[in-house]
């Protein structure tokens, strides 16, 4: 790779348009997904104080747009890897709603049989790989899976979602280097909400242009100016098409700005903590992707979708509440897989 300036090489190797998939995202699907995620998480927040969910939850309210835009550009057989803040990616990729809520309720109908909880969602059939509570831990796993697809010449794309905080862990850099060396069909997707818990990016990274770090590792990088669904969708669709066409096309890196509206963990707001202000968040809320998506639909279509989504969410919570807890006797099941 010839040395190029950080600015010049941004986006190098990433075609701006993929003829097959860069039309505007379907507005109904988009609205449905955004609304689904928002509704699910608001319902989680609502029921949380009643203790039916006995496990930490990291809500992505406000951050839905990136996951939705990215996952709309993916196919069923493509795969996403997320974090403990993984509800949005799980649902956007098509993860089963009932099994997700049951998982949060610790029920044996949950996607991980109640053994994982909110931080360890999984839906292999829909391409949602297991999420993890230790920051940055699924980044190399995503690469491993991409390398497996490449090895088998399967035209499948892997997306690794992670936060800005993950880009401080050593494994992030190690993984980018290996991904670039192996030219793996992998999209790195940094959801930069500016905070790791309560600490701002600028207090954590001396040079806080994350794309520049990716490029220094040999991975072409592109920073979105906003989390606008259409823009993100178009770029990711293009990148995905490129990776499907050539399993040795090599990884790419995207950074998307986003904003967490609620507290780091738990259902509430956190302006009283003083690390950011309500105004900071209100500015983001003014650009709410959900509202924008709603505006693109007729009132009638919107109402239909709303009824559908609200019904599905309500049912999921009811089913989760009604489902049985795992029997204590199953405690030692699935420690090892034996034939």
């Amino acid at each position: 790779m010839p040395p190029t300036s950080s600015r010049e090489s941004r986006g190098a190797g990433l075609p701006a348009r993929d003829p097959a998939r860069t039309g505007p995202p379907d507005p109904e699907t988009c609205y449905r997904l955004l609304l689904l995620i928002r509704t699910v998480e608001e319902e989680i927040a609502r029921v949380y104080p009643s203790d039916v969910i006995k496990s930490p939850v990291h809500l992505s309210i406000g951050q839905e747009a990136v996951a939705v835009a990215v996952c709309m550009a993916l196919r069923l057989e493509d795969v996403v890897f997320g974090t403990y803040r993984g509800h949005a990616a799980y649902l956007a990729k098509g993860g089963d709603l009932d099994r997700m809520i049951a998982e949060l309720y610790g029920k044996n109908t949950g996607c991980a049989g109640g053994k994982g909880g909110s931080m360890h969602l999984v839906d292999v059939e829909h391409g949602v790989m297991g999420t993890s509570a230790v920051v940055a831990t699924t980044i190399p796993e995503a690469l491993g899976m991409a390398m497996a697809f490449q090895y088998r010449r399967e035209p499948r794309v892997v997306v690794s979602f992670f936060g800005d905080g993950a880009t401080e862990e050593g494994v992030f850099f190690e993984t980018l280097n290996v991904a670039a060396l192996r030219k793996a069909p992998l999209i790195f997707l940094c959801e930069n909400n500016s905070y790791a818990i309560h600490t701002h990016l600028h207090q954590r990274q001396a040079q806080s242009d994350i794309c520049r770090k990716a490029e220094a590792m040999g991975v072409p990088a592109f920073r979105f100016e906003s989390d606008d669904v259409e823009t993100v969708y178009a770029r990711i669709a293009g990148a995905a098409a490129r990776l499907r066409a050539d399993p040795f096309a090599g990884p790419c890196f995207f950074e998307a700005p986003t904003c967490r509206w609620r507290e780091h963990v738990g259902p509430g707001e956190d302006f009283h903590l003083g690390y950011r202000t309500a105004d900071d968040v209100r500015r983001c809320q003014a650009n709410d992707a959900l509202k924008k998506a709603a505006g693109r639909l007729t009132e009638i279509r919107r109402a239909v979708i709303e009824r559908e989504v609200l019904g599905a969410v309500a049912r999921a919570f009811e089913r989760a509440a009604a489902a049985p807890f795992p029997e204590a006797g199953t405690l030692l099941d699935d420690v090892y897989k034996e034939v």
Partner: protein, 347 residues
């Protein structure tokens, strides 16, 4: 009247007093200066000692552990805080290959006076990666010391001892113990290695409860007392080096040893204790041994499974009862204990 503090306040006071006494003590880790100040254990310290002595870090556990070692070589006494013990795995290379070994491999030239605080999560669906104890993995390695105080008194005394120790010390805090209150002297004092404590006397069996399991053993003892069994309970406090003599002395008397570990039993401190006592009392007639610990699986999130995962006062008492009376069917009445009631997530 003795003054009472919570476990959290005791940690904070010990840190404050040591920082006040010795300018070499510095404190860092993810969130130490955060509005939630690590459950309160660092409350007021950033303001009092400033950002050069108390500071947040990037998500870089591996490097920050090496930084602590380097500071310690230079004569500082760093305290590095992990809000979950689970994250200490990211620092395993620095802890085991550098911190533990440097004094020895450099021929006594570079010692490592550092403290690593690691918190064990429990309850409220902490789940697979936020509930591990892992102290047995580190206690395995010569050169590291490990301490797991269970009372506010010892929380303070052990932390002071750990900070003053010229070697790397893993200071293990159980989140459920954070809630306990108890008498804590205002003056500074050390609870140093070699000070295993008999927390309750008895003649029928010896129970050693490690970390939070100390509390559970004391509760089990009540249940046993109700049916006429007198358990002696020991708190080892320091897990490396271990004060074996106190345990051997007790078992010589009671002829029964039940160790309840707050970690997986296999390759754990608890099993090692059993082995060491069995070796010390080799050939003696008819001593009974038993070790309980986490069930041999990853910690599940769902409450019904989580409950079955841990030893509890009932299962401990039942185990002890079987050892003493040979009856494996007896169970004490079901009860709920205060910290499990008052504790609510998220954390």
């Amino acid at each position: 009247m003795e003054r009472e503090l919570s476990f959290v306040e005791a940690i904070c006071e010990a840190t404050d007093q040591e920082m006040g006494r010795d300018r070499n003590v510095v404190l860092f880790g993810l969130g130490v200066d955060d509005p939630k100040h690590i459950q309160g254990t660092t409350k007021g310290l950033p303001e009092k000692y400033g950002a050069e002595r108390v500071f947040d870090t990037p998500l870089s556990e591996d490097a920050m552990t090496g930084v602590a070692v380097g500071m310690a070589w230079a004569g500082l006494r760093p305290i590095h805080v992990h809000i979950r013990m689970d994250f200490a795995l990211l620092a395993a290379n620095q802890l085991v290959n550098m911190a533990a070994k440097s004094y020895y491999m450099f021929g006594g030239k570079l010692n490592v006076p550092m403290v690593v605080r690691g918190m064990i999560g429990k309850s409220w669906g902490q789940g697979p990666q936020h509930s591990q104890a892992l102290y047995s993995m580190f206690a395995h390695v010569p050169g590291l010391k490990v301490v797991a105080p269970t009372t506010p008194h010892d929380a303070k005394g052990c932390l002071i001892a750990a900070i003053r120790d010229d070697n790397p010390v893993l200071y293990v805090e159980h989140r459920m113990l954070h809630f306990q209150k108890g008498p804590v002297p205002e003056a500074m004092y050390e609870v140093a290695p070699g000070s295993a404590r008999v927390t309750a006397e008895g003649a029928d069996l010896t129970m050693v409860g490690i970390s939070y399991m100390q509390l559970e053993c004391l509760r089990a003892r009540h249940e046993l007392a109700a049916v006429g069994i007198e358990a002696e309970v020991i708190d080892p406090i320091w897990l490396a080096p271990l004060d074996l003599d106190t345990v051997v002395r007790s078992v010589r008397k009671t002829r029964r040893l039940l160790v309840v570990d707050n970690d997986w039993a296999y390759c754990g401190v608890g099993a090692s204790l059993v082995a060491a006592v069995a070796e010390a009392l080799s050939g003696e007639v008819g001593i009974q041994y038993r070790c309980l610990g986490f069930q041999p699986t990853t910690c599940p999130t769902s409450p019904t499974l989580e409950e079955a995962f841990y030893p509890n006062p009932a299962s401990i008492a039942a185990g002890a009862h079987e050892m003493v009376r040979g009856d494996s069917t007896w169970r004490p009445p079901r009860r709920a204990y205060p910290e499990t009631i008052s504790f609510r997530g998220p954390f």
